[in-house]
């Protein structure tokens, strides 16, 4: 049984009277694929935003590798080993595909203004690293041929893969994926599943929010179920599938294809 | 003591003009969510309309106010056509650029057409009352009355007319309003025109109070409406009014210490201070202007 790498304790976010996330305890073990599901409005993306410091925690704690990172500023999250993709795809649209990935390497390189102007050895090493590794990552997600296209011109499915490549560039211990398969047809979805499995097989921990039940059940080792901000179940796919609370939460909601 | 009371009175009077400008500004930027850089120039055009009414058409103050209102209203329609019509959803940067363009054209154009000299505006009410050692000019009271009447009119419009209600709906959620059958474009046109018209009136008052209009008066006026509205809370009309009055008071207190060349800097410093400490202003909704 591997160690817990990401943990929340009584994590809460209140917007005035609304409890978007209500005292959620979650443990993610290193190397696993951990799913987060729940009907619409359950607070899943808000939960991610709390983990990555994008919004302020009302109560509770987030622990990463045993360290309390609650309230960490979002720009420090990549540096500690956690990165994410977004529900609405937030690519750098008017940069090339490769440049998007290069930005992901920001925390792993050091060249500043002076180095950029003078183009010293350190700069050239950084650029070679960033270009080489960037192209490799694009290869890994299957986008090598589009390296010099403008990100804005990519198809929807390829944009999602680019976002994943960019997040991988930070060399994260934990990768948070927010609905990576949203809006995709079945063949694209299975490609994404493959990609996620590939990433996991390299030892990275993945937390994935998804609406597609079949995808989640087939992919994840552990699933946390949220409903209206509360955690109503956490366990293996089999446990979750048969949990009465989960079933009643989804009654009346369309099941994912 | 009297001296300070006098400063307070003068400040409130001056603030009433700022309040009117700020309400117009809050209407356009806070309520309708449009970005505008043309505010100062609209005030200037209104001021000149009033000036011409008073000096060349030799009308009374009321016609001058109407002239300012009308000129600014029309200008508002033109601005909407050029700056907003094509991009009803923004982004903000586009509106900023187009309104900068219009502002530049108006400011420079005014210098050519209306002359680069400061023009003398005749006095309208020259009398005053003395109340406990403090002098209150008739014109000051008049300005406050105008502010009150226009504010009341605006309040009635927003609360009691159908267009006013539609405007409130649009300000809350354009998409929802459109789905409910509101002609959002028409509302933007009208709302923008109202905001501009209020500025036009404030311009006339500015001209009358300071006995001068100047083609370049827009810059300072625009800054003050902006600062007042931000101080009071961009999304709140009563806030904007309060912000304006407060700015008038601060300015009058400020010139006791600083020379008049630095007058505008006071408004600017207040603006920065509010944006740094409490960007939503005194009465505004939180989170309207940050990332």
């Amino acid at each position: 049984m591997s160690d817990v790498i990401l943990e929340t304790r009584a994590l809460s976010k209140h917007f005035g009277g609304l409890k978007a996330v209500d005292s959620v305890d979650m443990s993610v073990r290193e190397g696993t694929i951990h799913g987060i599901i729940g009907p619409n409005g359950a607070g899943k993306t808000t939960f991610f935003n709390l983990l990555t410091g994008l919004i302020e925690v009302t109560r509770g704690a987030v622990l990463f590798g045993g360290r309390d990172i609650t309230g960490i500023p979002p720009e420090r999250v990549a540096g500690i080993g956690m990165s994410r993709t977004f529900q609405n795809i937030k690519l750098f649209r008017f940069m090339t595909v490769l440049d998007n990935v290069k930005v992901g390497f920001h925390t792993r390189t050091k060249t500043g203004l002076l180095g950029a102007v003078v183009r010293n050895a350190a700069f050239r090493a950084d650029e070679a690293f960033v270009t080489g590794q960037g192209l490799e990552l694009l290869d890994f997600v299957g986008l090598r041929k589009q390296a010099y296209n403008l990100a804005a011109n990519l198809s929807y499915g390829t944009q999602r893969r680019l976002e994943i490549a960019r997040a991988l560039a930070t060399d994260p211990k934990v990768l948070l994926l927010d609905e990576p398969a949203a809006g995709m047809n079945p063949s694209e979805k299975s490609e994404v599943m493959e990609l996620i499995r590939k990433i996991s097989s390299l030892g990275r921990t993945i937390v994935v929010i998804e609406h597609d039940m079949k995808l989640i059940m087939n992919l994840c080792d552990v699933i946390t179920v949220l409903n209206q901000g509360l955690k109503i179940c956490e366990g293996t796919p089999a446990e979750v599938r048969n949990d009465p609370d989960v079933i009643s939460a989804y009654l009346g909601h369309a099941r994912g294809a | 003591m009297n001296y300070y009371l006098q400063t307070l009175v003068d400040g409130i009077a001056q603030g009433s003009i700022y309040a009117l400008m700020a309400i117009g500004f809050a209407m356009i930027m806070g309520i309708l969510g449009l970005v505008t850089f043309t505010h100062g120039e609209v005030i200037m055009i209104g001021a000149f309309a009033g000036f011409y009414a008073l000096t060349f058409l030799k009308t009374g103050i009321f016609v001058a106010l109407v002239a300012g209102f009308a000129a600014a209203w029309i200008l508002g329609l033109v601005i909407e056509l050029i700056c907003y019509r094509r991009w009803p959803k923004g982004p903000d940067e586009t509106w900023l650029i187009t309104t900068i363009g219009v502002s530049t054209v108006l400011k420079s154009g005014a210098q050519i057409v209306l002359g680069t000299e400061q023009q003398l505006v005749p006095d309208v009410y020259t009398g005053f009352w003395t109340l406990g050692g403090v002098r209150i000019l008739h014109i000051q009271v008049f300005m406050l009355v105008v502010l009150f009447i226009l504010s009341a009119g605006l309040w009635l419009f927003l609360k009691k007319t159908r267009t006013g209600l539609e405007l409130k709906a649009v300000s809350m959620d354009k998409t929802a309003a459109a789905l409910l059958g509101v002609d959002v474009r028409r509302i933007l046109v009208i709302g923008n025109a109202i905001g501009c018209a209020l500025c036009g009136v404030s311009g006339v008052l500015l001209g009358v109070y300071y006995n001068s209009v100047h083609a370049v008066m827009g810059g300072s006026a625009g800054l003050k409406s902006f600062a007042s509205a931000v101080l009071g809370g961009l999304t709140s009309i009563p806030g904007a009014a309060i912000g304006g009055i407060l700015l008038g008071i601060f300015e009058n207190v400020g010139v006791l210490f600083f020379s008049s060349g630095w007058r505008d800097v006071i408004a600017f410093l207040i603006l920065i201070a509010v944006l740094l400490v409490r960007p939503s202003g005194l009465l505004g909704r939180k989170g309207a202007e940050k990332v």
């Binding site: 750098f92 440049d99 203004l113 | 060349g261």
Partner: protein
């Protein structure tokens, strides 16, 4: 037009050599004509100014309309260093840039979290405060009287006193500016700035400390405006705050918007047209700013990315080929 652009993109080095050749030959061709030389100098001077503003507005998403203030700080720094402390041109040049950049930090820190019109108004206010401070701080800047008597720059003993000489001086400055900007844009820092422009939240999530980087960006852009100010001081031998009004700032903004933000060549195009056209139509000189304002409006309605803009302002999407030469700046 598109084919010309593609040709230039494909043969980047050759195009640059051609451009360099033209720029070097021009002064010889118009040697006797001081008027034309002056125009050429102005084109290059405003190229530097427009480029300096483009680094900010076109590449980090910040909206700065107060560049005149930094131009002014640069000019006055040079004037004071030259007339009061006998500092030579070549030392004054980087010093002016540095002082302008440091002042921009004064503006950048409090306004770091502001966006759009709020930031724009603050930059405007800053520009005006600079002008007012200089006008009123008579002991230091001689106020409205300005600072006269700035000597000619010297280059290895040779005194640069003619328009011919000044042309080559500003050409060198412009070349250095573009060179450095090109290098910075195609580096980790440049990419970070563009990322901030594209999506600040996503940039943060990739580990970029956006607030700090926006301040760096402001300092970097204003450095070149300060350097341009130094050149201006030496060119005119006299500085006065009157030359650095908000109108000047608007003119520079116009050059960036019309020429095309987000690309290295856009501001050059903007500077060229907006210096040359008012000269060609001298009878319209009074209407200079009206025309600039109209140019902005026409640009937004007809071709919002400007004549030669890039990045988010580009409607033309390049094909999927190998990089054409200028990388992030094309």
């Amino acid at each position: 037009m598109k084919t010309l652009v593609r040709m230039v993109q494909r043969h980047g080095t050759l195009s640059m050599l051609c451009a360099a050749g033209v720029l070097l030959a021009v002064p010889f061709l118009i040697r006797g004509n001081d008027y034309l030389l002056r125009i050429a100098i102005n084109i290059l001077l405003y190229s530097v100014l427009a480029t300096s503003l483009n680094m900010i507005n076109g590449y980090s998403g910040q909206f700065n309309i107060g560049q005149a203030g930094f131009y002014c700080i640069g000019a006055y720094t040079a004037a004071i260093l030259a007339t009061r402390y006998g500092v030579g041109f070549w030392l004054a040049l980087p010093a002016s840039g540095l002082i302008a950049a440091l002042s921009s930090v004064l503006l950048g820190i409090p306004t770091a979290r502001l966006r759009g019109i709020f930031l724009a108004i603050c930059t405007l206010g800053f520009s005006e405060i600079v002008r007012l401070t200089i006008l009123n701080w008579i002991e230091f800047t001689r106020g409205p009287m300005g600072i006269p008597g700035i000597p000619f720059p010297t280059f290895f003993g040779y005194e640069i006193s003619s328009n011919f000489g000044f042309y080559f001086l500003i050409l060198t400055i412009a070349a250095v500016t573009l060179f450095v900007c090109h290098r910075v844009l195609n580096s980790r820092i440049g990419r970070a700035w563009i990322a901030i422009r594209e999506d600040e939240l996503a940039a943060k999530s990739m580990g970029i400390p956006t607030t700090r980087y926006k301040i760096y960006n402001l300092a970097f852009g204003t450095f070149w405006a300060g350097a341009a100010g130094c050149f201006y001081a030496y060119l005119s031998s006299y500085v006065s705050a009157d030359s650095f009004t908000l109108d000047e700032g608007f003119a520079i903004l116009c050059m960036v918007l019309v020429g095309g933000p987000g690309s290295l060549i856009g501001p050059l195009v903007g500077a060229f047209f907006l210096v040359v056209l008012p000269e060609m139509f001298r009878f319209l000189a009074e209407y200079r700013l009206v025309i600039f304002g109209l140019a902005i409006l026409v640009t937004m309605h007809v071709r919002p990315q400007g004549i030669a803009g890039g990045g988010v302002f580009a409607a033309i999407a390049p094909d999927s080929e190998e990089p054409a030469g200028k990388g992030a700046a094309s």
